[in-house]
Symmetry: D2
Subunit: 102 residues, 4 copies
């Protein structure tokens, strides 16, 4: 079962800046060899369910190891059985509708 | 690593009523032996990380088996290393602040 | 347009305990006269769109006034035009399916 | 109060393909003159609180007008009082940490 997730990991109790922790999660996902793309409020990740969820768990472990006593993560999970759809195609299925527009 | 999640599984392409699919997920979580409580917009589930995430995967599998071609799930994940906290304690930590109020 | 939301307000940069801020949000929602119910990972709120969203804005204002430099809120928003549905009915539509079960 | 949100509007009861509805929401946000960027699982939107939330409400109205009897939206809302931060800066604060990496 393939999955596309959107994940936003928020460490609590480490002060106002959380970019070091977010960067560490990016590293975890990159090392896992998963297709991913960061945006201003999270990261899209694509791959087999177990691999993606193992990376999510590893993110929590790494952020705790960096000193965060508490983490709250928000995640969306998309699966479909009717066809295979990749991240780029999801964006294209919408933007294609604007073709020809100024 | 213990985890408290809040999960809301939304089947797409099965019509307006999704209560049968939500009930099937409740059954999956109950069978997994995980502490859980449903509310009007999701379900709180508590337990060891791997057990909880295995139940989440099983929910997607079961809802697809019921005929949903597409699922989008929204999930929050809470972990902490400073102390063990259960679902009831999270609610109590807030409501205790209202003690003595009318 | 009536709405049911689930909201979880997370102050960042105020340390590990956030229960005082969550309690302040409960107070905002209560003062707004909105139907609500807290669970272990958020609060369900029901009412007219503008009233509910005004309360959400007030929550951010109050939590900032309490000293939080940064807030990240996770929210689900449900609207429907086919019929009016209240929070209790959403839960009942699922639990009724378990009637007669041990 | 400025806000950065991430929003994912999901129409229920309109079949498997939801790209027309998502495109209509893009149009609403574009017409509102709000800075925005779509990704594979939602759209980042930035602007004054009231303008952004008016666009969110308009999205629900438009998607219902297109025939969706039911909508569930997932949204994250970020506000901060310590400094002004734009969407691009949020991404840069993380990617800058990888500078010099292969």
């Amino acid at each position: 079962m393939n999955v596309i997730i959107d994940i936003c990991v928020v460490p609590i109790g480490v002060g106002v800046s959380v970019s070091a922790h977010v960067a560490a999660c990016q590293e975890v996902i990159r090392e896992a060899g998963l297709e991913h793309r960061m945006h201003a409020y999270g990261t899209n990740v694509e791959g087999p369910w177990d691999d993606v969820m193992a990376a999510v768990k590893r993110c929590h472990e790494v952020v705790h190891e960096m000193g965060a006593p508490r983490i709250t993560t928000t995640m969306k999970i998309s699966t479909r059985t009717d066809r295979v759809q990749h991240m780029d195609e999801k964006v294209a299925s919408v933007t294609d509708r604007f073709d020809g527009k100024p």
